[in-house]
Point group: C2
């Protein structure tokens, strides 16, 4: 089965979207055929790739039964995107009232050939939308910032994922991505060390450093490699993509 990775963390602003867009683009540059999925009503992955979410039905249309996956997917040349939109908020409300155990996203993803990997951006909330994603995902990437509150959230998240993985065959944690890391900050070094101690083997060796180019790129609708190919952000995500490929057994 091809890898379907959810960028997941209920802690806000840790870099789920930044990792989703730049891992998707970076893997595409390494030759992978990538499908990026925007599962957030904020539609920030969609905006980061230069599309206007308000014009697109996307994932909401698929989950609501209006569109097939093939109809909803946008071909962006370097990769394909299943867009997010504000309509996903209503979808989530409907899913909350519906029967548990629906695998709508999982079944839809089965219908698309010619894809080597799926990268799914999630909202900062473990609700019905994220549960659809978890039912479809083979693995989870956990971006986090190297600070105390993110560490608090990580503990709860890893416990929750372990339960899901154990009892109902949920996705494995493929890795933890330390984002906005600054080696000069003692707090960052300490949190990085705590992650190594408490969750050994999860953190990628590559940490993504703080780099303003990563915050500027979305305003141009570009991934970091297009926007600032010689930036620290581009270098870090290139290294992270290579490390991820090794972990997926396809270096």
């Amino acid at each position: 089965h091809i890898p379907r990775l959810a960028c997941l963390n209920h802690k806000g602003g840790v870099g789920k979207t930044t990792c989703s867009v730049n891992l998707a683009a970076g893997l595409a540059r390494l030759g992978w055929r990538v499908l990026a999925v925007d599962a957030d009503p904020q539609a920030h992955l969609t905006a980061s790739l230069g599309l206007v979410a308000a014009d697109l039905d996307g994932l909401a249309g698929v989950l609501d039964g209006r569109l097939t996956l093939a109809q909803a997917v946008a071909d962006l040349g370097q990769l394909h995107l299943l867009p997010g939109s504000a309509a996903l908020a209503a979808t989530e409300t409907r899913l909350a009232g519906a029967a548990v155990g629906s695998h709508k996203l999982a079944s839809a993803l089965d219908t698309l050939p010619g894809v080597d990997i799926v990268i799914i951006d999630c909202p900062p909330h473990l609700g019905p939308l994220t549960r659809q994603v978890l039912a479809a995902a083979t693995g989870v990437l956990v971006p986090m910032t190297p600070d105390f509150l993110a560490m608090q959230s990580l503990a709860w998240l890893m416990e929750t994922l372990a339960e899901l993985s154990g009892t109902s065959g949920g996705p494995d944690v493929v890795g933890v991505v330390l984002n906005r890391y600054s080696a000069q900050k003692r707090l960052h070094r300490e949190v990085r060390e705590l992650v190594r101690q408490h969750f050994p083997g999860t953190a990628f060796a590559t940490a993504i450093r703080e780099n303003i180019a990563l915050a500027e790129a979305p305003s141009f609708g570009q991934d970091i490699f297009r926007y600032a190919p010689r930036s620290a952000g581009a270098a870090d995500f290139t290294a992270l993509c290579r490390e991820l490929a090794v972990r997926l057994g396809q270096p």
Copy 2:
């Protein structure tokens, strides 16, 4: 009616919790009798004030009818806290299925005398919990980081709040707090200017600068004034508290 301010933004990691704890502590230092409310299942405001959320029923107990407000509130000396806890997640699920229009938090807050202001920390999600908060709040503070994706979220949030305020007497926007601001970064200066243009009069003159002390303080369970009284973070929040007091008509 005393001010009840929700620190609200569905964009994650913009500083809702950081603003909640330091505005609460800062106003307390100016002589206000403060009730801080942690409406987030992550319970980060609670942790930032040095309490272990797992030991406390708090807001979840009040919303579920197990506790009165007086029983649930913790007296921390400088201020009072209605704690958050993971139990709030189950509460939110229950509220989602319940009839619309419940004002449980609003009624509970009415029962506590001796309070000059209520500061409410919200999760990064506009769901049933946040709607309880909005039904109880007189005003909204919107922390945001000065970047493109936060600006995207702000536009949607301001529109949503304007609808609520217009049609159903929802809370007014008291102000937008620019957080993690760095005057050296062109992106930050541009976003600050965009906020001024599109939402004139909303942004506080005081921007909270990036300051590692603000990220370290929660790990010691202390507000910034206790943890690092001479830091940029303490100086900025002191100025912000004074500006907020003026906006509330009580300088």
